[in-house]
């Protein structure tokens, strides 16, 4: 067997050395230490953790160690409150459907308009099945409308599900306060903490949070592993039935190497949150301030004073995001965009629309998301390459008056604008 073949041609276009990966809200590099921790569970320790013999036992113990590591990351009271899932989407789906099934007399759900599709589309699905969904709006900075939130709470609500930090802007919702308010009405409270876990300290014990979703690959574990925090005593109905694994709360033989990796990543992240956050947020701020200083007609979206330390979303007016990303890619720089074109839909992201970002800017919104592997050189690369890219695309744009370096939206009014 020839093991030297290259399995794919989709490798990054430039050498990883000298490249700038700034798309850590999409996914992160697996920490080499995490790889090291998980590998024995793909080779030596292949036993089924449910088995009684000596092949199974160390594997079962490794899972329990990982459970404690995740417990510590999120500040849970008991390790048994951690249920391993295949991903955060599964965790969120489980949380929502469990609440609906456990409280069949409650036919309403409260959520926000800027949620991740995992929440958004599950709620839309339930809406079609007859549930009333309270879609809480946000203001122009992406901050939740607390009056609308309070007004939506009642004993008819089965579940509140709110993201802790927005994936596009990093804007934080006041989750602990919102959870307390839900508690007062006896409502279950779930939070999608995917963009928070490993970036900001979390303490679920003694909070009003009953359920919390997190994803391993957002903090340097591999893809395919997530977890649902399930407060002890919370009424629960499993999504997956057919086995005693995870105390019957999630049937199916465990993804052992993934679980071990998640545990290792959680242990590292719990430490990193304390030691790396200041450095990451300084790099983020330098990037952001540098871009705003170098590029006219650009602004930060979301709530800059209240967001996770690694995320910056900058809207460049009168240019389109996919074009920017394609050109950045030429320099080995990876970022994301809320533009319509990158997703294949025809409208900019629901988050940009919810914040009423003008279309001329929403399509040019670029998200930079850093990690502890981000370096100053990567920030320098963006500061050097991006301003001329925006300038070049603006010369192509009918909304931009090149001669005067100003927009000319007045004169350009296309036929079906």
């Amino acid at each position: 067997m020839n093991l030297n073949y290259k399995c794919c041609t989709g490798t990054p276009e430039s050498d990883p050395l000298g490249s700038a990966y700034l798309d850590n809200n999409a996914t992160t590099q697996v920490d080499p230490k995490v790889v090291e921790a998980m590998l024995p569970f793909l080779t030596q320790f292949y036993g089924n953790p449910s088995s009684i013999h000596s092949f199974g036992r160390p594997v079962g113990q490794a899972i329990e160690t990982a459970r404690q590591q995740v417990q510590e990351l999120i500040g849970a009271e008991f390790s048994s409150e951690v249920v391993f899932t295949s991903c955060a989407t599964e965790a969120t789906t489980t949380a929502i459907l469990s609440a609906v099934e456990a409280f069949p007399e409650r036919k309403e759900i409260v959520t926000s308009v800027v949620e991740h599709p995992a929440t958004l589309q599950m709620c839309e699905h339930l809406q079609r099945k007859g549930y009333t969904i309270h879609w809480i709006p946000v203001d122009k900075k992406g901050r939740i409308d607390m009056d609308a939130y309070k007004a939506a709470l009642s004993d008819r609500v089965a579940l509140v599900t709110m993201m802790w930090a927005n994936n596009e802007t990093g804007t934080l919702f006041p989750i602990r306060g919102m959870a307390e308010l839900a508690k007062a009405h006896g409502i279950l409270f779930h939070t999608d903490a995917v963009q928070v876990a490993g970036k900001v300290p979390i303490q679920v014990a003694n909070s009003g949070i009953d359920l919390l979703s997190l994803s391993g690959h957002k903090f340097h574990a591999p893809k395919g592993i997530g977890a649902l925090y399930l407060r002890r005593g919370t009424k629960f109905r499993p999504l997956m039935r057919g086995g005693h694994q995870e105390r019957g709360r999630r049937a199916g033989t465990e993804n052992v190497s993934g679980v071990v990796a998640l545990g290792a990543a959680a242990a590292i992240a719990a430490e990193s949150v304390r030691t790396d956050t200041a450095r990451i947020s300084m790099m983020r701020d330098r990037l952001e301030q540098g871009l705003l200083a170098r590029v006219p007609n650009a602004f930060v979206t979301g709530d800059p004073g209240n967001r996770v330390p690694n995320t910056s979303n900058v809207a460049f007016e009168y240019v389109e995001g996919e074009s920017i990303l394609l050109m950045l890619n030429q320099f080995g720089i990876a970022a994301s965009s809320g533009s319509a074109c990158t997703s294949g839909s025809l409208e900019p992201s629901h988050v940009m629309r919810a914040m009423e970002i003008p279309y001329t800017a929403a399509h040019g919104a670029i998200r930079f998301s850093l990690s502890r592997f981000t370096t100053d050189e990567m920030i320098d690369a963006v500061l050097q390459e991006l301003p001329p890219i925006v300038a070049k695309l603006r010369t192509l744009s009918p909304y931009w008056n090149e001669a005067e370096g100003v927009p000319h939206t007045e004169e350009f009014a296309p036929v079906f604008g």
Binding site: Q330, C341, T342, S345, H363, L396, P414, V415, F416, G417
Partner: protein
Amino acid sequence: MWNYSEKVKEHFFTPRNAKVVEQANAIGDVGSISCGDALRLTLKVNPDTEIIEDAGFQTFGCGSAIASSSALTEIIIGKTIDEAKAVSNQEIADYLDGLPPEKMHCSVMGMEALHAAIAQYRGEEFVDDHEEGELICKCFAIDDVMIRRVVAQNKLSTLEEVINYTKAGGACSACHEKIEWVLESCIEDYDAASTPASVELTPPKSIVERVKRVEAVLDELRPMLQADGGDVQLADIDDDMVFLTLTGACSGCGLSGATLSMIEQRLSEALAEPITVYPVGGAAHAGGVS
């Protein structure tokens, strides 16, 4: 990231004719900022020969939008405006060695800009037939407005019928659930609107009536076929056999079998008896569908 052809990348990174043409005498502004695409096309047309001597574009849009604009200018320079007007969006896409299905609308925008510029040159009004509904089928760029219209016109009730009539959902099938939602809401609408007593049809009593009813069905379907660049002609009727010729883009289309079976179903309903449709002429290879 999209799987763009080398040609698309090349036209994106080094676009041709990205400029405002000096002393342009034809300008076409099209696009929709909500969709993230907008294009200004400027042409210099020789008034004597009607030859497009120069063309320039300014585009706000993604990689394929910029590449499509660049390709468009390359294609039309040197053509007369009548020749240019015959350029289809498919030619723009072909010129770029193809576009991802979700990006075909970029080539349509190029074509529309050209039509708008020509209309302006001739002092005509450019009428756009752009749909602004929710995009349902990304493969064929079909939105809910179009699906609703076709469902209502033809009283469709199943997913398969929607696929046959509109092509929506005919390729990757990812939008089938969405089509069913649109269908459900349409059915609710016309259930609410329809009166319970529907007229019971009887089979035609004369050959003249038979021909009239068949022609009426074909006339009803014709705009839909023409929208795709095709057409249908009645060749002959022999008892319960109807012989049709599919022409234009319909002949040789991979979906012509589906089109014929859709026509067959409609004819059977209109004549209140089972009808078999036989393709003749252009679409003979499709064979009988019954």
